[in-house]
Symmetry: C2
Subunit: 223 residues, 2 copies
Amino acid sequence: MDSVKVIEIKKSIFESNEIDADSLRGELKAKGVFLLNLMSSPGSGKTTTLVRTIGLLKDKLRIAVMEADIDSDVDALKIKEATGVASIQLHTGGMCHLDAEMTRQGLDNVPLDGLDLVILENVGNLVCPAEFDTGACCNAMILSVPEGHDKPLKYPLMFQVCDLVLINKTDVLPYFDFDLEKCREYIHLRNPKARVIPICAKTGEGVDAFAQWLLEEVTKWKN
Amino acid sequence: MDSVKVIEIKKSIFESNEIDADSLRGELKAKGVFLLNLMSSPGSGKTTTLVRTIGLLKDKLRIAVMEADIDSDVDALKIKEATGVASIQLHTGGMCHLDAEMTRQGLDNVPLDGLDLVILENVGNLVCPAEFDTGACCNAMILSVPEGHDKPLKYPLMFQVCDLVLINKTDVLPYFDFDLEKCREYIHLRNPKARVIPICAKTGEGVDAFAQWLLEEVTKWKN
């Protein structure tokens, strides 16, 4: 199997994550690079969604991916092999989230010049990553059908900080007690402005709407 | 709807969680009360599994449940209404895990005298709860089929600290690329002694094996 670059990231020594996040966003703006922070629980389909989305966008945007994981490099390999875009693995050494300085350590290993979009696949966790501004230009998350439509009630912060919620695995809706309209209602209770897009990363259904949203966000950022 | 007791738990002021966890276990041993710490990702089916299991055990054991959640009290209500056993809700105020002191704050609100088993449903998170000894006599976890069989590779610590892994939602095995034997192999790579029990909390399949395991553990603890 092919190998990918693996970066061991260290815990931030900076006190103020917010200042560092704003500074990182400023640098990305100056360089015209859009950084998307994608969050979700383990197994909700982040990597599969990215493979599909990059397939739709790679002729329009120059893309790189940073895969954060506590251990293993299976996701970075999967992205690299399936899409051909530059992909690096960030090992958090047990840490449950990424902050702005950790994200910067990752970006230091990505050749930003000539890129339009960097996607950060955050650690699989619906709690902690929501608490830390990574310096990304936009936060998005995936909730998958098997997790249940009540999750915005139980994990409010994650839904509050995300501009976009993808509802993945719609192909298994017939087998789960998941109410899509109730889920939308709960999401908007937490965040009235959140865009909600149902998708099925496995079959590709709805992924074009996510790709279109992302393309528009990148274009706005660069202008 | 019925109401349940909701406890707002505070972050521990103690430096050494391990000492506190051992001390809590000692007190539980002296009282003959078995505390099970049940962990998993959000939406893997902890509450439904508990409802089924308590149904099988409540004539044999005197049981209480502590439901930890960042927000909401839907789980404690569900347990109380479906099983009739004492159930309290612990609000963590955004915290991603419980430590021994936080667990003790919960237990202070449970009448331990006359109980055989207290089940702690930890915060839905496959990362942080694994790092903190709650003082429980045993750790168990649920991995559900839609999350994928590769999770022991990506979240090693959770699988290392658990004596028992329930693989839930086996009814949807036909709709997911989930390899049960590979999952078993990955779990035993992390923890060769872990007991693995496939269940379907929705239909009840396999839950009797979990109930039997729990009954045996409680009996061992009391002798």
